[in-house]
């Protein structure tokens, strides 16, 4: 930023800001609040609401010399335009004089507010926004004390318009500021809502089927300056001032969006503390001020009637409730007996502290710490991942972001937003994927490869690659080679564990060879399918290829926060064969049903802990609601088992566990809970006084987290394992090769409990090119039966002309255990 600053005064306060800064923002930086409704610091200005009118004077320029005309005292002569001007659309200019505190400006504010209020229903007492409403606040500050508009002449409009099943519009409350429409157009690139009609009839409508079809729709309710847009989840559920806010981290993907759980004591639930809504919490380096709808609406599992809150022990074939001591003693006894044949299978939603204790137990026991995941490469991202001072929100020209085998919009929505924005700022986006994804339209180069050919596609970017590449590969490679900074992001599109491992390895190798490691804005990122898979790798867990076999041979199997039996009959069978089965979870699952001992854990919003995001940002979450019944945090349960085996383990304080982690893992060396709780001022300002400006996204007062170093950034020798054998893409005569894709709204165990999202959930649908369907004599809408390891699954056939031939896509987590490309037998349903 060597740009010269522009100097101006606002209410006599001198301000210096970069060129192109808008008057409204310049004022904000000087601590002067200019009221706004339609303006939002993350959206393009439109100047519609006229709330921000101010007086603006500009120095007269001498035409000939281009110099300021000065009066006798040498002060520049000012020229004020006769009309007030909108501060939200006017960029600053040198010598400008802005007046926001004159009577004229005060009158204009009062008058514009009076206009807005003439058509406002004034139903604050029953409005969800009441208490955190910019219109309320600005009216108190600047508005007229009385109405001159006859109340009986108010226009009456529909107050419960479902734009979709998630977002409702109250037409009477809408002040036509257009923030929602612009958010959808500019930020989300889902132009599914719009203005219709004109004059007082101007209204927001949805133009999509299903209504308001956008995974970011909830954000519009945060920036709507009135109670016109509400979520189906929160409308009429509580008043904002009754709510307590607990800082947390979203649990649903690798982005690690900062959120808040708003909770209150609920009379209808016997005075329990319950979560009333999820709100974004500002972290400009992670999610800015947004979250996706999965993050906002998928928390309901915590209230599920299937929550288990008491330990259980299998007696005479049935699971019978037991006391903790009895259950833990039994587990300890079995562990003592079966020693090294322990297999610990952990899910990627566990916190670092849980995983650390689990790993310690497993390791000292001589057992195997297995991660339940179909993605690999966490060892590599720990070494050549993106180091501190990397900010997706600032990437621009000179930076290449290469995204491979990833449907980012579905796999990590907020990264999609931020990488799209980076591309719009001038970063060069290279997308390699077998089919079209939502990221393509922002890519400078799009490269298609056949499913299974991701390694070959990437190899073109190797420095020694031949010069005879075809377009568009050649230009993409050129862009790549000329880049100062390179980030490679890989996902799980069409990949299984082996493929993922090979791809991660190839990506890391490429970055190392081209020296794009160890520096900020360079490195490898994985779009993990769970919130803390990176943390799990860092704590010592990794997935294995022969999971079923390993489980079936285990003496003791300790399954924590995952449901292999529910996912896959093969794994269920393996668990039948495995020895003693200990299951630790929060809900009833198929795996729990098989357990010999069940240990009830706490959901993450019931205790504290930390997650490591896909960018390797370590972030802390806090307890939001009290834990139910006889549950314990995962780390405490594991610690109690360890203690029974005669080892010390921390069972009280996750903070102390993080210190232990810091002592053992160099990337975490500097980390402690105080550091993670640190905050600094972020732009744009959020919070109470700035509701009118940024919306209801929470100000971050509980911690921005800290970016972990990588082996490369610490300049340690790298320890990259040998390249795994390249996987063979399964193709077999007479069989159809099905590849897995990731969907945001899958039927995963957390999502399935949020009724609100049911309409949007993915179905077991096989999607293929019409030609492929023809070859297998299938047609759209038909039901077919797919055989996977002898188990038949019903799938619906869908067609998509855009897909490559000869393969079919199947979403993961829709009840069919297909997590790697596989050639399957398919027959029409009889």
């Amino acid at each position: 930023m060597t740009d010269k600053l522009v100097h101006l005064t606002i209410d006599n306060i001198p301000v210096s800001v970069p060129p192109d800064t808008l008057v409204v923002d310049a004022a904000k930086q000087a601590g002067i609040n200019i009221p706004v409704f339609c303006y939002h610091p993350k959206l393009h200005p439109v100047g519609m609401c006229r709330m921000c009118l101010v007086e603006i004077g500009r120095p007269l320029l001498d035409r000939a010399s281009g110099e300021f005309v000065r009066d006798a005292d040498g002060a520049p002569k000012l020229q004020f335009s006769p009309k007030l001007e909108t501060a939200c659309t006017t960029p600053v200019t040198e010598g400008m004089v802005v007046i926001t505190n004159s009577q004229k400006v005060a009158d204009a504010r009062r008058e514009v507010l009076e206009f807005i209020l003439t058509s406002h229903p004034l139903d604050c007492p029953i409005c969800d926004k009441g208490g955190e409403c910019p219109l309320q606040n600005l009216t108190m500050e600047h508005g007229p004390g009385q109405s001159r508009f006859l109340f009986d002449e108010k226009m009456h409009l529909d107050k419960h318009v479902p734009l979709g099943e998630l977002i409702y519009l109250d037409r009477e409350r809408c002040i036509q500021c257009g923030r929602c429409v612009r958010f959808q157009n500019e930020v989300a690139d889902d132009p599914v809502i719009a203005f219709s009609q004109r004059g007082r009839a101007l209204e927001i409508i949805t133009q999509s089927t299903p209504g308001f079809d956008s995974i970011f729709s909830g954000n519009t309710t945060d920036i709507c300056p009135v109670g016109a847009l509400t979520t189906a989840d929160f409308r009429f559920a509580a008043r904002p001032w009754e709510l307590k806010a607990a800082a947390s981290i979203c649990q649903h993907c690798a982005v690690g969006c900062n959120i808040v759980f708003n909770v209150r004591r609920e009379a209808l639930q016997g005075g329990r503390m319950v979560i009333k809504r999820v709100m974004p919490r500002q972290n400009e380096q992670v999610n800015e001020i947004w979250i996706c709808d999965k993050g906002r609406f998928a928390y309901h599992y915590v209230e599920s009637p299937q929550r288990l809150t008491q330990p259980m022990i299998r007696k005479d074939g049935a699971l019978i409730e037991a006391e903790w001591d009895e259950a833990l003693d039994l587990v300890a006894k079995k562990l003592t007996a079966y020693g090294a044949s322990l297999v610990t299978l952990a899910g990627g939603r566990l916190s670092n502290e849980d995983l650390f204790n689990l790993y310690s137990l497993t390791h000292t026991q001589g057992g195997q710490a297995v991660l339940y995941s179909y993605m690999a490469g966490g060892d590599l991202t720990a070494q050549v991942g993106i180091p501190p001072q990397t900010d997706l929100g600032k990437l621009g020209a000179g930076c290449v972001i290469l995204v491979i085998a990833c449907d980012l919009h579905e796999e990590a929505p907020l990264w999609w937003l931020r990488i799209k924005a980076a591309a719009q700022r001038g970063a060069s986006l290279i997308v390699l994927n077998p089919r079209t994804t939502r990221l393509d339209r922002y890519a400078r180069h799009v490269i298609r490869y056949e499913y299974g050919a991701e390694l070959a596609a990437l190899s073109a970017f190797q420095p020694q690659s031949r010069g005879d590449l075809p377009e568009p590969v050649r230009s993409a490679v050129k862009t790549f080679q000329e880049a100062e900074n390179v980030i490679i992001l890989y996902g799980s599109e069409g990949l299984g564990l082996q493929e993922s491992k090979a791809l991660a390895h190839a990506c890391a190798g490429l970055l190392i060879k081209t020296y794009h490691i160890g520096r900020s804005n360079n490195g490898l990122v994985a779009a993990w399918h769970n919130a803390n898979l990176q943390g799990a790798w860092d704590m010592g867990f990794s997935p294995i290829n022969n999971l079923a076999e390993t489980l079936s041979k285990a003496g003791v199997t300790y399954v924590v926060a995952t449901d292999p039996a529910g996912d896959d009959p093969q794994l269920a069978e393996a668990l039948q064969h495995s020895g003693f089965l200990v299951v630790q979870d929060i809900l009833m699952t198929e795996t729990v049903k098989m357990a010999d001992v069940f240990l009830p854990a706490q959901a993450y919003m019931e205790r504290g802990g930390s997650y490591t995001s896909g960018e390797r940002r370590l972030q802390r979450f806090y307890p939001a609601v009290p834990p139910p019944g006889n549950t314990l945090p995962d780390f405490a349960i594991t610690a109690r088992i360890s203690q029974r085996l005669g080892r010390t383990a921390e069972e009280q304080s996750p903070a102390r566990i993080l210190l232990q982690i810091a002592a053992t893992n160099p990337a975490y060396a500097e980390m402690d809970y105080q550091l993670l709780a640190q905050v600094h001022e972020q732009q744009p300002l959020m919070g109470r006084h700035d509701l009118y400006y940024g919306g209801t996204t929470y100000e971050n007062r509980q911690g921005l987290g800290a970016h972990l170093s990588t082996a490369a950034s610490r300049v340690e020798p790298l320890n990259i394992p040998d390249a795994p054998p390249p996987p063979v893409f399964p193709v077999q005569e007479g069989l159809l090769t099905v590849v897995p894709t990731t969907r945001l709204y899958d039927r995963g165990s957390l999502l399935i409990h949020s009724n609100l999202l049911h309409q949007r959930l993915a179905h077991p649908t096989l999607t293929m090119h019409p030609k492929t369907a023809e070859a297998y004599q299938l047609s759209r809408g038909q039901t077919a039966v797919m055989l996977l390891e002898k188990t038949p699954y019903r799938v619906e056939i869908d067609l998509d002309e855009d897909l490559p031939h000869g393969i079919a896509l199947l979403p993961r987590s829709v009840g069919i255990p297909l997590n790697a490309p596989q050639a399957v037998k398919l027959r029409p349903e009889s």
């Binding site: 200005p45 439109v46 100047g47 519609m48 609401c49 006229r50 709330m51 009118l53 006769p82 009309k83 007030l84 659309t89 204009a108 008058e111 514009v112 009076e114 206009f115 807005i116 003439t118 058509s119 001159r148 508009f149 006859l150 002449e153 226009m155 002040i175 036509q176 719009a194 203005f195 219709s196 009609q197 004109r198 004059g199 007082r200 009839a201 101007l202």
Partner: protein, 421 residues
């Protein structure tokens, strides 16, 4: 009747036929421009003529064309045939009866800014005119006057018509562009101006139909000929749409600078039933009312004088005459109703203010208003003033404030009889 140049069909029958138009020297100006004038020279000639936009603002046309940057391409020209101002019906007559002169003007404008595409945006109700224009454009293409490599040069041009959906606001140039792009017709924020970021974000000239109809005359007969009509600052001929309480309403092609009296009495045949004239609206519903005093009647109609003397812009020169039988509160009520109906709703003061004024004015017309309501009406109008995003909102209060100022009695007549205790 004297010679007509803009309403040329009144002098030359069947000028709406291409053969007739060409036999009268039609398209020679276009030919001259394309084959022997540089684009800059065409612009220079228009600048010299002093032609000012006939769409309402009176902005110098040549200057407007000169604004287009030669660094950004493509350029577009858009003809504004939205003609929705109440009392304005001049463009309709041109389009219906002298269409080729308008088309030729549009084509010269396109050549002058090197646009290869030009659009004619017509109000939805002009669908028949649009059909007729389409046929004429096809004729011009068949004749080689439009298309690729016109007259053997490397200049190519195509014309397209586009119908609006019946919104007054779509005559406002940036709302027009939005509508032409297929979006909701709402004005854009300015800057950027259409000259740099107009249609599809490209440099664009937007001109009124009548403005463009003057262009072949200027290129064909020269700027000096053009300047032989009108005044120094407002040169040329103008079509005045005369309506209201006059005996002979209609379009009158007269030099700018002729007086209200000449138009209303000499040409319009005076006031119906010889009533006394009371007020004049010079710019349709967007007018500031002029009290029709003898002195006012002698005022020349040009882009400066009415504004200077009465604060009343000439606008599109749609002269609506009001006689003593008209109650000006009623008139204000009618204009308010119009603007309330036509407000696009984008900005608060106009959307809410016109609605509110309409509620109050309705009260007044129903005899249910008190004196306080009249004050309130004035207040609300003043509150709108100077705060709107586009000119429509500012227009909406012109007749209200001027009628309240000049004809307060008309309002008082209508207020509810107050019982003073």
């Amino acid at each position: 009747m004297s010679e007509h140049y803009l309403l040329r069909h009144r002098s030359v029958p069947h000028i709406d036929r291409l053969d007739v138009y060409r036999s009268q020297g039609g398209f020679e100006a276009f030919h001259k421009a394309v084959t022997s004038l540089k684009p800059g020279e065409v612009i220079e000639e228009i600048k010299k003529s002093g032609l000012r936009g006939r769409g309402g603002a009176g902005f110098p046309t040549g200057t407007k064309w000169g604004f287009l940057p030669n660094t950004l391409w493509p350029h577009y020209v858009v003809a504004n045939a939205d003609e929705s101002e109440p009392g304005t019906f001049k463009d309709h007559e041109i389009l219906e009866s002298n269409p080729f002169q308008f088309l030729e003007g549009l084509m010269i404008a396109a050549y002058a800014v090197q646009a290869q595409r030009a659009y004619i945006y017509l109000r939805g109700e002009f669908w028949q005119l649009a059909q007729a224009l389409d046929q004429r454009i096809a004729q011009l293409e068949a004749d080689g006057l439009l298309g690729e490599d016109i007259f053997g040069t490397d200049y190519s041009l195509r014309l397209f018509t586009h119908l609006g959906a019946g919104a007054y606001i779509c005559g406002e140039e940036t709302a027009l562009l939005e509508s032409l792009e297929g979006k909701l017709g709402q004005p854009r924020l300015r800057p950027p101006f259409p000259a740099t970021a107009g249609l599809y974000n490209s440099p664009t000239v937007i001109n009124n139909v009548e403005t463009l109809t003057n262009v072949p005359l200027i290129i064909g007969r020269g700027a000096d000929w053009f300047r032989s009509f009108g005044t120094d600052k407002s040169p040329g001929l103008k079509i005045f749409s005369l309506s209201g309480c006059v005996n002979r309403p209609g379009n009158y092609e007269l030099p700018l600078g002729c007086t209200f009296r000449e138009l209303i009495y000499d040409h319009g045949g005076g006031i119906v039933q010889d009533h006394a004239i009371k007020a004049i609206m010079a710019a349709g519903a967007s007018s500031v009312l002029i009290a029709a005093t003898p002195e006012a009647l002698e005022t020349p109609m040009d882009y400066e004088t009415t504004l200077e003397k009465f604060g009343a812009p000439l606008g599109s020169a749609s002269i609506i005459v009001l006689d003593e039988t008209v109650n000006m509160a009623w008139l204000a009520f009618k204009t308010i109703g119009f603007f309330k109906h036509e407000s696009c709703g984008k900005c608060t003061p106009c959307r809410e203010g016109t609605f509110w004024m309409n509620q109050i004015a309705t009260r007044i017309m129903r005899g249910k208003a008190t004196r306080a309501d009249i004050h309130l009406l004035e207040n609300v109008a003043q509150q709108i003033q100077g705060k709107c995003l586009c000119a429509l909102g500012e227009f909406s209060i012109m007749a209200v404030l001027s009628s309240l100022k000049l004809f307060a009695k008309d309002f008082e007549q209508l207020i509810k009889v107050e019982h003073d205790g």
